[in-house]
Each structure stands twice: as C-alpha cells, then as structure tokens.
Point group: C2
Chain length 379, copies 2
C-alpha cells in the first residue's frame, strides 16, 4: 500500500507505537540503525504527520534534544464490516481505536456496486462529521461474509454473495476513496479484532464464529494464518462424525449442516417450534425453551468434536466463541467444552481457555482496522 | 543459547548466509545498521570463526575494501535422531549439510542416562574422525519419539519412553558436551528437515508421519508451529469417525488405534497373516499381498478423513507423508487422496500437493540440525 508514511519508516514507527516520546539518540540506540537513516525516517514520518515533535528531553548542556511521538490521529482508517444483511462502518485512529461508527441494514445480494457505494457513502459521512476528508485516510479495511483472496482483494466463489465472485473490491474502493484497501473474510477480521483488543499477548488462538454459518480464524505465532489460498479456518465443512445431513456445499454431514444457527432453527421447526434464524434460537434459549436449549447444547457437542481435532492439531491457548449463536450463552459453551475435554490429549487442554467473545460486535470493525495497520507495518 | 557468535550478530550473519562475500559498505547498505554496529558485529563473527575475510573488492582507489563471507564449517552441529529402537547421529555444517553420520540399534526404554551417553559417545566419535572437538560445536539438536516441551528440553509424559518423563535432556547433554541443546519431538524435526531440504519456499506445509504411531508437524508461515504446550501436530488421537477401537491413550477410535502401522499389523494378524510391525506390513504390500494392500489403503482413507479436516483448518500447499508405512507407496497415498478430495472444499485443494517424503531417512537429522540453526538466528 502507499503506506503510513514512506517505505522503510516501519522500524522507527514501530518503536514509537507504544506512545512514549523518544529522542533521535534513543531511536538510534533502540533500532541499531544509522543516524542518517533514523533522521531521514523521522523527517518522512513528520512530513506525513504520523510523528510529531513532543516537548524536549532533559539536556546535558547546549540545545535540548527534540523528542518525537506517534500521532495516532494524524491519519485515519476506514473499517467496514459487510454482513449478509447489514453494513457497519467505522472511522478509527491509526491504532484501531474507533472514533465514530454507523450501521445500516443492507442485503449483500444487492451486489458489489450498490454495497460498495454504500460503504463509500458511509465513510464520507463519517469523515465529514469528523471534519476530515478522504485525503486523511491511511487505508481501508473491509470484511466480507465469504471466502476472499486476501492478496488480490477479490471474493472467491462466495456462496451467499451473488454477483461478487472475483469482483475487484479493493480496486473499486481505491478508485472511489483514493486509499489502499485490504479485504478479508468476516471471521478473519473478527479473529484479528478479538486478538488485538483482548488477547494481544496470546500466541496461539482460535476464534470460532457460530451464526447462520460456522467458520474459524486461526492466530498462529501472533499472526493470522490465512493458508495457501486464504481458505484457512473453514471448519464449517469438516465432517461431523456419523451425520448425514445434506449441506449447501454439496457434501453431507458438514458441521455447518448439523450445528449452525440455521441448522438448529431447522431442527426446531421440524419439532413444531417457530424459529427462522440464529437470533430466534437465541431468543428461545433465553426464554428458557427446553427443546431449543437441548438443541444448542447438542450443537455445541458437535462443534466441540471438530474443535477437539483443531486442538490436537494446533494446541492453542485460547478458543474464543463469537457469532450470534454465542449469545445463547452457557448451553453452547458447555456442549463445546464437553466434547473438547472428552477428545483432546490432557497436555493440550491443561491450560486451554474456552470462552465467549468479549468484544462483539465491535471486534469485526477493530479487526478490519487492524488489517490496515498490520499491512502498513509490513506484518 | 551461547550462540553462533555473539548476541545481535544475527542480522549481519543472516545477510551472509547466502554464501556471497560482501564488503562492510554493502552490509551497511543492506541492513540499514550503523557503520560502528556492522564493524563490531563483523569483528565478533570473525573472532568466532563464523565469517572469514574473502579476497578484496574492486577498489575505487586507495586500499581495496575487504570482503567477508560466511564460513559454514567454522563450527559444527551435532544432530541426533533418537527413535524407539535406533539412534542416528550426524555431524553437520552450520547450514545443516551432513558431513558424517552413524547409526546403531538402541532401545529408548534403556532410559535417558544410557541413551544420552550413547548420543554423546557417538558425537565424540564423529568429531574425532573429523579431527574436531566439542569446542567446535555450535549446538546440539535432538529429536525424541514422544511429546517434548521445546522450551525446557524435557519430555512430557512420553508414552513409549519409560524413565524419560520430565528428564532434563538439554541439561544432561549440555553438561556432557558443553554446547547448547535444542530438543523437539521426532515428527517436528522430520517436518523441519523436509521443509528445509525440499520445500524451503513453501509457506504452509503439513508433514505426516505414519509408522508405529501417527503424528504431524505443522509449518505455518514458513515456521514450525509448536502450539502453547508444544503439543501441536498430535493428530494420532483425533477421533476416526464411527470407529471404536481402544487406544493406548485411554480413549477409543483414535486415528492411531485404527490406521497406524501397529494397528494394521494387528488387523492382519486377526486375519491370520503374520505381521508384527509397520515394516512387516510394508514388506507384505511390496510382495503383493492383497489383504495387506487393502488394509493399507483403508488406513489411508481413515488418515485422509482426518487430514481433510486439517486441510479445511489450515489450507496448506503441500502434505508430505513420511514414516515407515509411507514406504508402502501408492496404496497409502491413494487412500489418503481419496478422502482428502472427497471431504475438502474445492478452493483448498485446487493446488494442494499430497506426496511422499523425499528425504527420508536423513530428514530427521537435517531437521535436528535446523533446530540449532534457527535458534542461533533468533527464529
């Protein structure tokens, strides 16, 4: 991307991200970079407004040395969370802190031109309300509810997004808003958001979204693991042992066909209970409906069996469960834990934490902003 | 570890690892480090023998600038592959190229003191034959056939290693050979070795060992993914759908109880065929025994079902199958591919390569050496 300043300034900028003002001499010491290099990079960062002079350090005599600090609102990030039926857009500072946001119902099936025009419009409104312009944007982060090739910013055969396949989402928004665009799927940005805001020190984390569909985001060694084609985390189509329900993917017995919000709603309808969506299921559980609670707990067991395999493969420290069905609370988590502890080796579960998402619904927006920040820092 | 030279020299050393001689000025340009820093680090590296002067560069007048190059045999790495019933030890250069090796039958159940004494003895013999001493060792890499806490170098409840639980393997060998010691499980070192020698450019790779037991090594973003307790890759105890065979871990239906070399040998014995080990099974398949071939193919399908879940979760580019049963050849691979392609999303298998290990049996030794190199480079 055209960057948070200038190529190569990343090393100096990273040292200032903690918010502490530092002198040139301190930055030279910490980075091991040459004086001329550090001076040049500070000049670029100051010119870009990303770093500002900040008071003066205690002098050892003569002219006191200048200090420089990171200026997190020098430029802004536009973060967009495009769901199946909603659009949320936020303006964040360069650390991903949300300054303002808006949300509106919007059907993704309207197609990319209408949806992306809505993203741009919402972005311009937020900028205008903040007294800023598109020239202030360091980048745009977008989450979409389907597979995305992160390298090209194009959706890859998304099942619920008619008209979006291979559409140049990044190109469209860059042309409109004149800022670099990073695109990823919704589960990856939720994983990034949850990791950044709540578990920044955790190296190995699995974020599981249980909603109309089921998917996961994998944090390995502190970084998002996207895999060779950006398809990592697609646990919704792992086989649920001994199940044969037909799945929309063309296979049978997929976890998503057995334990998603949509699947549970279907099971409840078959039992004569009125439920159309994941949120209807949550409402029934909250109202104390026994059949719904049992169905959610059983779904938790099915998901937990697949997660036990993920635990054996990856040995994460934390599994965070998000998505609308996670609002059903203890019934889902209890089922999950039951299967995970039954099927994982003791060593891998000694310190494993299985918990609900803490930062929904902002985590997706925070994650979309994190896409931009990480890219700018060369991560 | 006490290092391949001196703390902080890594950045300069990394630039020289490609074998090209470079001048101080070139190293300053490439690293962005200060002249004094580069000069200091070169001095340390030359003092340690890791870098040597190498001819002179074309001069622009005056004294021609000196060039420096990496000296891969300045110090050596001792690599040990400790199996259930064998010990292989190699001396490698600093890039992991094997200079000499020896192998001997040895039962791991003899306990850590006898086995580690044998490692040290074999190491000293190789050093002596090469006219070198323990003072030349940059480090020692050890692979063990069971779970290891890589951070402490101690086995963690290893099932087939009586007397080894929590034994200070690293401390024992460091005391004996006066060199830093890195320990990991055998599958991880095979994964590292295969990745280093055959797939260095592949970011996401899964190495699967099918032998008496079943395990995997996960390469994510070019690095070995060990997980929170070093237990990652333990796919042998993932549930095989609809199977109920008792497993030595205390659970039932584990992949290892269904599809390992030991499990297949047991199935063949139940069918009246004389087979005790994984290698007996391989011999039967090679001799054209239909029952053995069918059993191996079915084991491949069972393993493939678990690997399909791994493919959905991680989206690797390459799955490499090693271990003694991989020598059974096409029957195993065909079964694996059958299940993987049947159960993975098309996007994740578009470019997926499923293949046999190319570098067995040296890959374990190469991987043990790579442990030392990566650690020394701060990876």
């Amino acid at each position: 991307m055209t960057d948070l300043g200038t190529a190569g300034a990343g090393a100096v900028l990273r040292l200032l991200l903690d918010g502490h003002p530092r002198t040139r001499a301190e930055l030279i010491d910490l980075s091991g970079l040459a004086r001329s290099t550090v001076t040049g990079r500070i000049e670029s960062l100051v010119a870009a407004g990303l770093v500002v002079p900040s008071g003066e350090a205690a002098s050892t005599g003569g002219r006191p040395p200048a200090r420089f600090r990171f200026n997190p609102t020098a430029r802004l990030i536009l973060a967009a969370d495009v769901g199946a039926t909603h659009l949320s857009v936020a303006l964040t500072d360069l650390t991903g802190v949300i300054l303002d946001q808006s949300s509106t119902p919007l059907n993704i099936a309207e197609g990319p031109q209408i949806v992306l025009a809505a993203v741009a419009r919402a972005g311009r409104e937020l900028l205008s309300a903040a007294g800023r312009s598109t020239a202030d944007l360091a980048g745009i982060g977008v989450g979409l509810p389907g597979p995305v090739d992160h390298r090209t910013g194009r959706p890859n055969h998304p099942p619920i997004m008619p008209g979006w396949d291979s559409y140049d989402v990044a190109g469209h928004l860059t042309a409109d808003l004149a800022a670099p665009v990073l695109v990823d799927n919704d589960v990856n940005i939720m994983a990034l958001g949850e990791h950044t805001t709540e578990y920044a020190d955790v190296e190995h984390l699995l974020f599981v979204k249980v909603a109309t569909g089921i998917g996961a985001g994998v944090i390995s060694g502190g970084r998002l693991h996207r895999g060779a084609q950006g398809a990592a985390g697609d646990i919704g189509h792992i086989q649920s042992p001994a199940r044969t329900e037909p799945c929309r993917c063309g296979n049978t017995g997929c976890l998503e066909a057995v334990a998603s919000g949509a699947a549970i709603a279907e099971q409840l309808r078959a039992a004569g209970i009125d439920a159309a969506t994941s949120l209807d299921v949550v409402a029934l559980v909250r109202a104390g409906d026994t059949t719904a609670t049992q169905a959610v707990r059983q779904a938790g067991r099915e998901i937990g069996t697949v997660l036990a395999a993920c635990v054996s493969l990856l040995n994460p420290s934390v599994i965070v469960v998000g998505g609308s069905l996670s609002q059903a609370g203890d019934a889902l988590l209890a089922g999950l834990r039951e299967s995970i502890y039954a099927r994982s080796l003791p060593l891998a579960t000694t310190e494993l934490v299985v918990t609900s998402s803490r930062s929904t619904p902002d985590s997706a927006l925070r994650g979309a902003a994190t896409l931009v920040l990480h890219h700018a820092l060369g991560w």
